[in-house]
């Protein structure tokens, strides 16, 4: 029997040792790099996509931010090479020429000219379309034969055509979209009961309407044109890849407005040579850095560390305040009786409730009913309720273990009951209360289920103190948390060769954090104990 018992004990010991050894050894390799240095990126970065370059031994693992940094560096090298080459000087001269030509597009004279062109072209277009529709209306019977339909259906078909036309115009002239919608709405009665006379009136009104379009477009063309010019000047001054990027963006924005107003074909020669003269620069910026990308397997866990700390501290503060007041009532004021044993029974039962039930309870009460959404506050209260039984039971024990003599002496010196509790019971019970709360800390930090619905985000790019409009927003934001993060990287993302690293690293940091918080409480408790010894 002795051998069997010893065997069982050793088995338990072995399992525990294996668990810790597994997490510590694998996690440590993530947190500490080969040469024993702390992997600060893992501790201070956000979770990111992992980019893996190369294979086997030469494999380089980079988080997104480092990957793009590296890419930028490579671009810079290539760019410098390009600047040294002869091709560069020529391309620059050409670009200069093209830009100067292009610039004429948005001076007042050429705008006046192009406005006239625009109006002539668009009015011709409109006249063409309307003449086609008017013809259909002139000889309804003939049209009906052509389209194989009844003569009385022809007008409604024409009105459909007209409505469709205005719809297309609305898309084409995106800058005056609202004005066209309004125009169509005003003409709608006439379009619906279309007749030859109505069609003429609509045509005239539309031609009149077209004359207001250039005004709006000219403004935008000038605006975007000047942006092209100024970003070009900037680019010429510095001639770096970033400045070129901005310049290229300005051109794209300008080209959109330009196309919408004039159409693709307007003086396309100019435009084509612009594109051509940009090409050498674009080529200089085109660096390929092939990598295999794994979502969510790189970067660090800083937001989760912060989130877990916040959750634990807040939940414990709430739990200790609520729990201690409750325990004071039970230990000092409660008269023994049915009510008190009922309360105790309730507390004991609460301790046995599965944590996922607490999660659902918190979700129903705090997130939905009180409308706190997924937030720190909801998580705090849910976790606090979960650890309350531990805190209450242990605090009551701690209060009861204070010698009756302290209470009596205090009262005999003229203290009221509350003063007595405040000055000569509670302070001395504090070490005991803190001891109990250490258990609570480990539980509050460790549970995933209660925060899954109430406080935890799988990914959040801002840290809790970033982007707050008002200080109260702090309490109504979700956070990332270590246990939930472990769950997410283990179960919610596609698994690959690099997710295990992330899991073990997170578990390692998580263990250290819980041990750290617990040690802090132990130190605090020991200091109090030394202070209040009897």
């Amino acid at each position: 029997m002795f051998g069997f018992l010893r065997g069982m004990t050793f088995f338990v010991l072995f399992c525990a040792a294996f668990l810790f050894w597994d997490i510590l050894s694998k996690g440590a390799s993530k947190v500490f790099e080969g040469d024993g240095m702390v992997n600060w990126e893992f501790l201070t970065e956000h979770p990111q996509t992992l980019h893996v370059i190369g294979e086997g031994k030469d494999e380089i693992k980079l988080s997104s931010s480092n990957y793009f940094k590296l890419k930028d560096e490579k671009i810079l090298v290539k760019w410098e090479e390009f600047r040294q080459s002869d091709e560069h000087d020529q391309s620059r001269r050409e670009l200069d020429k093209v830009i100067n030509l292009l610039e004429r597009e948005w001076d007042d004279d050429s705008l006046a000219q192009s406005n006239e062109d625009f109006l002539n072209r668009e009015c011709d277009n409109a006249a063409n379309k309307f003449s086609f529709w008017k013809e259909m209306l002139v000889d309804v019977n003939n049209t009906a034969i052509d389209f194989e339909m009844k003569p009385e259906d022809v007008p409604s078909m024409v009105s459909q055509f007209i409505l469709g036309h205005f719809e297309m115009e609305r898309v084409r002239f995106s800058l005056v979209e609202e004005k066209i919608t309004l125009f169509r709405a005003m003409q709608y009665p006439k379009i619906e009961s279309i007749s030859l006379k109505n069609a003429e009136q609509i045509e005239d009104a539309y031609k009149l309407f077209l004359s207001v379009v250039p005004e709006v477009y000219n403004k935008s063309i000038k605006l975007f044109g000047r942006e092209v010019r100024s970003s070009y000047d900037e680019f010429m001054q510095v001639e770096g890849p970033k400045e070129f990027g901005r310049f290229a963006e300005a051109i794209v924005a300008y080209s959109n407005v330009r196309e919408s107003f004039w159409g693709k074909d307007y003086e396309s020669e100019n435009w084509e040579s612009l594109q051509a003269s940009l090409t050498p620069f674009k080529r200089a910026m085109n660096v390929s850095l092939p990598s295999r990308d794994y979502a969510y397997s790189g970067g660090g866990i800083f937001p989760a560390i912060v989130g877990t700390l916040l959750l634990v501290i807040g939940a414990m503060a709430i739990a200790i305040v609520l729990g201690v007041f409750c325990a004071i009532f039970l230990a000092e004021y409660g008269k023994s009786g049915k009510f008190l044993s009922l309360v105790r029974l309730a507390i004991l039962n609460l301790a046995g409730v599965p944590s996922i039930i607490f999660g659902l309870f918190g979700f129903g009460l705090f997130v939905i009913f009180l409308d706190w959404n997924v937030s720190l506050l909801a998580g705090w209260f849910t976790l606090a309720f979960m650890v309350l039984p531990i805190v209450i039971t242990a605090s009551e024990e701690a209060l009861r273990s204070i010698p009756q003599g302290f209470r009596e002496s205090s009262l005999a010196l003229g203290a009221t009951k509350w003063t007595m509790i405040k000055t000569s019971v509670l302070p001395f019970a504090m070490p005991g209360i803190l001891t109990s709360s250490i258990l609570g800390v480990a539980r509050a930090a460790g549970e995933t289920a209660p925060i899954m619905f109430t406080a935890a985000y799988a990914k959040r790019s801002e840290l809790p103190w970033e982007g707050l409009e008002h200080w109260t927003d702090f309490f109504f934001q979700g956070v990332m948390a270590l246990p939930y993060h472990i769950y997410v990287v283990s179960a919610k993302i596609p698994q690959n060769a690099y997710t295990a690293d992330m899991q073990y690293g997170t578990a390692f940091v998580f263990l250290l954090l819980v041990v750290g918080v617990a040690s802090l409480s132990i130190i605090l408790r020991n200091r109090l104990r030394r202070k209040y010894r009897w």
Partner: protein, 272 residues
């Protein structure tokens, strides 16, 4: 109540020599019960200013209960109540609903059987009663702490280590510290519940000396198991048995020539 107490404490100067004047405490035909269990039966007793009254008797005779009635410490016990009779201090019924029990306990201090200083510094222990009254002035508190420690004959021993934990003191010193703590709130009457039962003979001797000194200023009621001690320190002695007051008289009379047979049997050690 407060005024009544104050008024008499002013008068008490003139009452110093004549102990048979108006009593400090008058217990009238008192019955006291814990739930349905009557522990004090029809006790009537007067205690006079500036005397030391000793309560003696075997365990469970109700002497401690009676002592704890005098500053209403029994209020803390569930189901404790007065059956009939009353306790008056300077003519005011303690259990009347207009009596402020906090003020009463300031005027009627208590020292317990087990020395139980708070686990704080010596200074904080003595200052406790003042601080809970809201006295903040350091000067006032400092003065009062020194005065109380001097009265409790402890000042010379602790003046250099006022900020050390009270639990560093010896048992006897701790008990005198508790007395000093009681003195700091300026009581008029001091109740002592077997103050020396946990002390060695030397420490006991010092506490007894202290009691003899204190009786010049305070009315003292001592519960004791130790009959020699009662003989050494008390002016009068009351003998209780099974919740009844058997006999109360001058201490010498009780010890040398008691009126009742039960008293003589107890004194001579036939039971108890």
């Amino acid at each position: 109540m407060q005024e009544a107490l104050k008024a008499t404490s002013e008068n008490s100067q003139s009452l110093m020599d004549s102990k048979n004047n108006a009593p400090s405490i008058r217990i009238k035909e008192l019955d006291f019960l814990y739930g349905n269990n009557q522990v004090i039966h029809d006790v009537s007793l007067d205690i006079f200013p500036k005397e030391v009254m000793a309560f003696i008797g075997p365990s469970g005779c109700g002497k401690s209960t009676l002592l704890r009635c005098l500053n209403r410490m029994n209020d803390l016990v569930d189901g404790a109540r007065i059956g009939k009779g009353s306790i008056e201090i300077h003519g005011v019924n303690l259990h009347h609903k207009s009596v402020d029990v906090i003020e009463l306990r300031k005027k009627v201090g208590m020292v317990f059987q087990k020395s139980n200083p708070f686990p704080k510094s010596i200074y904080q222990n003595v200052a406790y009663g003042l601080q809970i009254q809201g006295i903040k002035s350091k000067q006032v508190v400092d003065g009062k702490v020194e005065e109380s420690l001097r009265k409790a004959a402890l000042w010379e021993e602790v003046k250099d280590r006022l900020n050390e934990n009270a639990y560093g003191l010896s048992g006897g010193q701790q008990q005198r510290l508790c007395i000093a703590r009681t003195l700091a709130v300026e009581p008029e009457i001091i109740l002592m519940d077997e103050p020396c039962s946990a002390l060695d003979p030397v420490a006991t001797g010092r506490v007894e000396e202290l009691i003899l000194e204190l009786k010049n200023e305070y009315t003292i009621v001592v519960v004791t198991h130790n009959m020699q001690q009662a003989g050494r320190i008390s002016d009068r002695t009351a003998f209780f048995y099974l919740g009844k007051l058997i006999e109360c008289d001058q201490t010498k009379k009780i010890f040398l020539n008691p009126n009742k047979q039960q008293t003589e049997d107890y004194i001579s050690g036939k039971f108890g």
